[in-house]
């Protein structure tokens, strides 16, 4: 029995942290997928894209949504990030362990931590670019995509990867559905969103010169 462990034990912090990780994660996946569907409206027409953006502006949805998502993302970063081994020796153990085990879900978790870090940096740059280039219209997006398509390609892949596997892992942990089908479903949705994102990117880059 250790004094510091005994006195700090048996509270509900660990439960709350787990629930906040779950709730913030679900919110962010919901946001990301909605965001990508909104972006994909460019596939229908430029008017639809602009119309949707104006609608979100008119009812202040962008002005509430963006700061809210930033706060949720920061919470998620700190709380889900508590799982990441921070000591060098722990890092060595985990990497050796993953290489030894050659186990898919262990590797996807290693990449989950890496993509999480990448998103923190890349999404911050993305938000900065969008907010300083406000409002969001077909021409502002097309310009961004034309100049920074490689940046957005990376962000799209790491973002969708993190969201897809994150959702899968939460379902696995809480056991609401069997593991194999839920893995399949999250992969299919991720693939659809990726295709939509890539298609929208392609259209924007095409538009880039025309606008």
């Amino acid at each position: 029995m250790l004094l510091q462990r005994t006195l700090s034990k048996s509270n509900k912090t660990d439960l709350y942290l787990d629930l906040v990780e779950l709730a913030s994660g679900l919110l962010l996946v919901g946001f990301l997928w909605t965001h990508m569907l909104f972006v994909a409206t460019i596939l229908i027409s430029q008017e639809t894209f602009n119309g949707l953006s104006e609608f979100l502006d008119k009812y202040y949805l962008s002005y509430i949504g963006i700061p809210f998502i930033i706060v949720v993302a920061l919470f998620h970063f700190v709380i889900a990030g508590r799982r990441i081994p921070t000591r060098i020796q722990e890092q060595r153990i985990v990497w050796r362990h993953a290489k030894m085990l050659r186990h898919t879900d262990t590797w996807t978790w290693v990449f989950q931590a890496i993509t999480g870090m990448a998103i923190l940096v890349l999404a911050s740059i993305h938000v900065w670019m969008v907010v300083t280039g406000w409002p969001i219209r077909d021409f502002t997006s097309a310009q961004r995509m034309e100049s920074f398509w490689w940046f957005y390609l990376i962000l799209l892949i790491v973002g969708e990867y993190h969201a897809g596997f994150g959702l899968y892992r939460q379902f696995v942990k809480w056991g609401w559905f069997p593991r194999k089908p839920i893995g399949y479903i999250t992969k299919v949705i991720t693939a659809i969103i990726l295709v939509l994102g890539l298609a929208a990117m392609f259209v924007f880059v095409q538009l880039g010169g025309a606008l």
Binding site: D14, D18, H97, M100, H103, W109, K173, W174, G175
Partner: protein
């Protein structure tokens, strides 16, 4: 297949002789029909190197003593046929557990600690009456308990768990499965709050990151994902309504 010559690379280290650093030793062996890693190791020890340390008792996947890392995966030596492996086979002792020497580890101390921590016995206020008829239990409950009881305590789930590899206090799938077994048992009179004290923390249900190496590597194919999720859901629903006692301030 039976004509293959197998090359074993085996981890050698004796904590009693720390001056000899850990190294890999190579042994060659002719494969025979139906050969398991257990058979191969015994043959190596008998014919080539009597100093090689490894554990076994039952050679029938019941005792759980012969678990080791076989080509990167935690497996039972007695249940792993060499024909399922390439000709080069690498053997390591299980991580997490105390190393006795070479492939032999002490899982007993870990499991005893886990049993004490989870208080793995039926908590009842009833006094046992040897003359009374045994209380009946419906078949469904009995089968559910039996499913969890099939654990042979080999330690493969713990060795495969990334969390258990870096967090000493984590109970792992074996520990959480044990708690699930008592939660299912109607004879156990522990209150929800008492269970929460045992596993409602990062040392228990909330320490699991969902990597499922336990589920994928259990030699007994226990439904560990569902057991972990069951305890996690249960702990969440208990925990939300649970009021812990006031803490003591240090200053």
């Amino acid at each position: 297949m039976a004509d293959r010559e197998l090359t074993f690379e085996i981890f050698r280290y004796n904590p009693q002789k720390p001056e000899v650093k850990p190294y890999l030793q190579t042994y060659k062996l002719k494969e025979t029909t139906g050969m398991t890693i257990f058979v191969a190791l015994n043959q190596i020890r008998e014919e080539q190197d009597p100093s090689l340390m490894f554990d076994f008792v039952c050679r029938a996947a019941i005792c759980g003593s012969c678990a080791m890392v076989i080509n990167g995966r935690p497996r039972l030596a007695c249940k792993t046929l060499t024909k399922t492996l390439p000709a080069r086979i690498k053997l390591f002792p299980l991580p997490v557990f105390k190393l006795i020497g070479d492939l032999s580890v002490d899982t007993g101390t870990w499991f005893r600690h886990m049993s004490l921590k989870t208080e793995a016995w039926v908590h009842t206020s009833k006094t046992f009456d040897p003359k009374a008829q045994e209380e009946r239990m419906d078949n469904e409950t009995a089968l559910k308990i039996y499913e969890a009881e099939r654990c042979i305590e080999c330690g493969c789930c713990i060795a495969g768990c990334a969390t258990a590899n870096i967090r000493d206090e984590f109970l792992g799938a074996a520990g959480i499965n044990r708690v699930a077994r008592f939660m299912l048992d109607p004879r156990d009179e522990r209150t929800p709050a008492e269970y929460f004290e045992v596993v409602g923390s990062e040392e228990g249900a909330f320490g699991c990151m969902g990597l499922m190496a336990c589920d994928d590597n259990c030699p007994m194919e226990l439904p560990l994902q569902m057991q972990l999720a069951f305890v996690r859901r249960k702990m969440a629903s208990i925990g939300i309504g649970y009021k812990p006692g006031k803490g003591i301030k240090l200053a």
